[in-house]
């Protein structure tokens, strides 16, 4: 063979002139009434940009709890951020940001960012893959085989755009429903059969494709399933890659982005595509490297090291993107949100790192992100044990529900179906874009007014639990040190007032527990101890 020719021709993906023109559009699947479908859609030009922090972000070092600093420091002396270096946030002494996040400190102080404390769920999973699956599917079922196989955004988009991809694009949605800046699709955008998203790494890619055949000569179901999949993906790739290229080339970057920052590179593409006119509703981007079992910090200065680099890249990328979006005058349309499959263990390990943990903060940014810190600093025991984890204050699906309801104007009960059950609404979006009440009462203040106590504490086998409720749905869960719900004391509708629940012959093993009270959008968590 001709060596030089092989290398020059296969060394890079060379875009060759189209040999063949056109393509066949094979409509498959059930009959589809475009009109009915379009009538069912929500009219919105809103965009969600979802940033995945892959590997499990150490929330405790990102949002450092200043009000329980000594317990925080005691639990992780070798990786703890020095109190004096923590970046202060306007209007709060409860928590501050990692020293490398000056860009996000500015965004917060400008009122364009919020932090939701201790977001998680009732039975935290410590496996990357399981936890990622749970966050992306929105289903916490422990057995993977029993968990839904679709993503929370996939279900949202499929409910809005029934029949995708076969009959799409259509006049109402001429663009991809969602775009992932990634080499492969992920579960959050998975619909019942197809991904509702389009994966791209190069928005200017040219793809020439035609397929004149639409018959299925084999009777084998698996082979036909895969062939059908290949045909649809090929056809849609051809159509949508042309649309994406046009949009990208229609717009120019307006802000200065940091260099050597993979997240910034991705967000830069996202901004251009939005500016280029795409009606795409969801974009997902990823920044990896958060699995900091070792060398999370430098021993000499804990505000430096691998996690500090990640915090800086995250912070500067988001800040540049928000700036770009503002210069493009798109800031009324765009909301951003971060998530990670779990936080990390409260107690650090001997490798200057932290192992897999449970709940962690979620951040939201944009003109319509309701500014502030929602919730309290996590409860950190003074005599920290390896097993101690941060219990959740907010269910991650409450965050999803709030975004879908307050940003995409999804109505109940459709919303409850997308998220598989109903979740409390949290005050996360300001400006009332969906016509919802502009301001829900200051949740944190009201949560402080809620009463939740238990006596005696520590308790042996009998105790009395006292709580107050503003009325409506009220639930009290007991969580163990790992953050798992081990008991539900009550879960029903109450008239406003103060109530007692007596506990007799409690059979739980001795140890540290948390009680979590949830009443409407409010919650309160206290720690209790069971002794032998």
């Amino acid at each position: 063979m001709d060596r030089r020719r092989f290398l020059t021709n296969t060394a890079q993906a060379v875009a060759l002139p189209a040999l063949l023109h056109g393509f066949s559009f094979t409509a498959m699947g059930k009959a589809h009434s475009q009109l009915t479908n379009m009538l069912g859609r929500t009219d919105t030009d809103h965009v969600l940009v979802l940033i995945q922090l892959a590997g499990g972000n150490d929330g405790l070092n990102m949002v450092v709890p200043l009000d329980v600093y000594s317990n925080y420091y005691n639990a992780r002396t070798n990786v703890a951020i020095q109190q004096s270096k923590v970046l202060r946030l306007n209007g709060t002494d409860k928590a501050g940001l990692h020293p490398a996040m000056t860009a996000l400190q500015n965004l917060y102080n400008d009122g364009k960012m919020n932090v939701i404390q201790s977001v998680g769920y009732d039975a935290p999973n410590f496996s990357h893959f399981q936890a990622k699956d749970i966050w992306m599917s929105g289903d916490t079922t422990a057995e993977r085989s029993q968990r839904v196989k679709t993503g929370w955004l996939g279900r949202y988009l499929q409910s809005e755009f029934e029949g995708y991809p076969d009959a799409f694009p259509d006049p109402g949605m001429p663009d991809p429903l969602a775009i992932q800046i990634s080499p492969a699709p992920t579960l959050d955008l998975q619909g019942s059969v197809y991904s509702m998203g389009l994966s791209i790494t190069n928005p200017e890619k040219v793809y020439s494709f035609e397929n004149p055949f639409s018959d299925y000569p084999l009777t084998s179901a698996p082979a036909n399933k895969e062939l059908r999949f290949l045909r649809v993906v090929s056809e849609k790739t051809k159509i949508y890659s042309d649309i994406i290229r046009d949009a990208y080339q229609n717009a120019a970057t307006m802000a200065v982005y940091p260099t050597e920052n993979g997240l910034a590179d991705q967000l830069k593409i996202v901004a251009r595509l939005i500016k280029g006119g795409l009606k795409t509703r969801v974009y997902t981007v990823t920044i990896g490297g958060f699995d900091t079992h070792k060398k999370q910090v430098n021993a000499s200065d804990t505000s430096t090291g691998n996690h500090a680099k990640l915090m800086k890249n995250l912070s500067t990328a988001i800040h540049a993107f928000q700036n770009d979006i503002e210069l493009m005058q798109l800031d009324d349309r765009v909301l951003g949100m971060t998530f990670s499959e779990f936080g990390r263990r409260i107690k650090s390990n001997a490798s200057l790192g932290t192992d897999h943990g449970a709940a962690a903060p979620v951040m939201m940014f944009g003109k319509h992100a309701k500014a502030g810190i929602l919730g309290n600093s996590p409860d950190i025991p003074a005599d920290i044990q390896v097993v101690n984890n941060i219990p959740f204050q907010y269910d991650f699906r409450s965050v999803y529900a709030s975004v879908l309801e307050q940003w995409f104007c999804v109505k109940r009960p459709i919303l409850d179906e997308i998220l598989l059950q109903n979740y409390q609404a949290l005050p996360l979006i300001k400006g009332g874009p969906c016509g919802l009440p502009e301001d829900i009462d200051d949740t944190n203040d009201n949560a402080d007014k809620l009463l939740l106590k238990m006596w005696p504490n520590p308790y042996h086998i009998n105790a009395t639990l006292q709580f107050s409720t503003l009325g409506g749905h009220t639930m009290i869960q007991q969580l163990d040190a790992l953050g798992q719900v081990v008991k539900v004391h009550t879960n029903m509708t109450y008239v406003a007032g103060t109530y007692n629940i007596d506990i007799y012959n409690d059979a739980l093993p001795s140890g540290a527990y948390f009680l979590r009270l949830q009443n409407g959008s409010l919650q309160k968590v206290i720690s209790v101890m069971k002794v032998k």
Partner: protein, 539 residues
């Protein structure tokens, strides 16, 4: 269907299709043995099915063919230094540890200037990748290169985490040496393999502060899995982490060893899933043996690895009938043979189930099936894998293209291996998306347009190239596992061989009169078209 019903259907948890059940089990296959069955076997167990290989195996029985694939094993010579001088900001250096053309695998990279060592490591890592791609493109009639890829995917060590090419080679060689050997022994060896100790922090795991990283992945990803009958607990993860404390790595000479001072000698108690077993405190090696015994005494360990093998070689959906009639009996074979893998593989590849039509043409080609497989099927000649001067640059191109299509050798995306081999619900479908499909098309287009593929030679090797119907039948039988209908073949013939006429003699005359311009243009366009078909991505 209203919206609520639609959403409920969407959220249905039981999405595993109760499609046509597989009636076939692992009884030996006794059906016909034609190009169809041989191609099926070869495209699954090797990279592509070359015509010469198909002919070779057609001349023997199915059983003899499987035996040959499973028993042909060669021990390759190690990778060589192919690189020249190392240029850094501070100067130009030589690798003083090894001369060009010699292997670097035993040299700890300590002799050269300290400024040059990181560069040397990068060159060595590239050399390792070229060498493996070279072995794949030059593979023998054997399952071995696919098996090595399977184990690489399974244990999924990432070179970026390890940062040491000598260790990466040693790890690779461990997989290669045991690829058709004992599953349980390999699990034990990998646990204390230096690269794995670095990859999942085993080397930092000490009695003062147990590091659970390896312990968790060992149970979840390498031995027990998360099937419905897997019930290991958080405490089992913590207890196994304590069993595994104390293993350390030294680089000169490269080896792992137990630092008993860092080993937790208290006793460790496990959950009911492991029979509530207690591993008494002892030295690190004794406790490791006890841990391996405990894990492989579960019935889930064999099922787990069989399911993973099944998904890698057969199909990713495992319904209840397959679990009962295929996975369970294969797991029994594995257990009854004390975890020797070969009898289980032999039973699988000789089974009715493997040759069931339901299991044919449903496998979406991995990037290496597309790259290496296509190059091999078109008989593109390559230098020997030992040819570092002219061969390595070509092998590197294959490696690079695969990496761009999501299969980056020695750098799987995470500790769970390559998502398409394990991650539901899409599995193999993950190889194909709006990003990777154009790259695949660019590659096969380039092979044709740059005349790397000898289209004329390929046609010449078919049974009667002057007859357009025979030519298309033969060509598609070799290239496509999913057949084209008669109407589709007629479309291809008319458009590419008959110049849009209905006259077969148009092609026959061109061929017999050796009209090179017409023949080459027609064939090129036809192959471009065929390799852009969705059918081409199935095997």
């Amino acid at each position: 269907m209203n919206r609520i019903e639609f959403l409920r259907a969407l959220a249905n948890r039981n999405t595993t299709k109760k499609s046509q059940p597989f009636f076939s089990g692992i009884l030996p296959y006794s059906g016909q043995w034609t190009v169809n069955e041989v191609s099926h076997l070869l495209k699954r167990t090797m990279f592509g099915a070359k015509k010469a290989d198909v002919d070779h195996f057609l001349g023997m029985s199915m059983s003899a063919a499987v035996d040959e694939l499973l028993n042909t094993v060669s021990v390759p010579n190690p990778p060589l230094r192919d690189y020249g001088l190392i240029v850094t900001e501070d100067g130009t250096y030589d690798d003083l540890g090894v001369v060009q053309g010699q292997t670097w695998v035993n040299d700890p990279n300590l002799l050269s200037d300290a400024d040059a060592r990181p560069g040397i490591s990068r060159f060595r890592m590239d050399s390792l990748r070229k060498w493996w791609a070279g072995l794949m493109i030059n593979q023998q009639r054997s399952i071995q290169e696919k098996m090595v890829l399977f184990w690489h995917h399974h244990y999924s060590v990432q070179q970026e985490e390890v940062g040491n090419p000598q260790m990466m080679y040693r790890h690779h060689n461990l997989l290669r040496t045991n690829m058709l050997g004992n599953v349980r022994m390999l699990a034990k060896e990998v646990t204390i393999d230096p690269a794995m100790l670095l990859h999942l922090n085993g080397y930092l795991n000490s009695r003062q502060a147990a590091d659970e990283n390896f312990s968790r992945e060992f149970q979840e990803l390498f031995t027990i899995g998360l099937g419905n009958d897997s019930h290991f607990t958080e405490n089992d993860v913590i207890a196994a982490a304590r069993v595994l404390t104390g293993w350390r790595v030294r680089t000169n000479p490269l080896e792992s060893y137990a630092d008993e001072a860092a080993h937790d000698t208290s006793s460790k108690t496990f959950s009911g899933f492991y029979g509530s077993r207690t591993i008494a405190g002892g030295d690190a090696a004794t406790e490791l043996d006890a841990l391996i015994d405990m894990i492989f005494d579960t019935t889930e360990a064999a099922r787990f690895i069989v399911r993973k093998i099944y998904r890698f070689f057969v199909y990713y959906e495992i319904d209840e009938a397959t679990e009962t009639d295929v996975i369970e009996p294969l797991a029994a074979i594995l257990r009854n043979n004390n975890y020797e893998i070969k009898p289980m593989l032999e039973a699988l590849f000789k089974s009715e189930h493997f040759y069931d039509t339901l299991n044919q043409a449903c496998y979406i080609k991995s990037p290496l099936d597309i790259l290496t497989g296509t190059l091999r099927e078109f008989n593109v000649p390559f230098p020997a894998y030992t040819d570092y001067a002219t061969g390595y640059p070509l092998f590197f191109s294959i490696y690079n293209n695969a990496a761009n299509m999501q299969l980056d050798l020695f750098q799987p995306p995470d500790v769970n291996g390559y998502a398409a081999f394990v991650q539901g619900p899409m599995h193999y479908e993950l190889w194909v998306n709006s990003n990777s499909l154009p790259r695949r098309a660019d590659y096969t287009d380039a092979l044709v347009n740059a005349e790397i593929i000898d289209v004329r030679g390929f046609a010449n090797a078919t049974s009667n190239p002057s007859n357009p119907d025979t030519l298309i039948n033969d060509v598609t039988a070799l290239l496509l596992r999913y057949p084209l209908s008669t109407a589709s073949k007629t479309y291809v013939k008319t458009r590419f061989l008959l110049n849009n006429t209905a006259d077969d003699s148009f092609w026959t005359n061109a061929w017999t009169s050796n009209n090179s311009t017409l023949i080459d243009t027609s064939l090129k366009n036809m192959f471009l078209f065929l390799m852009n078909l969705p059918e081409f991505h199935l095997c």
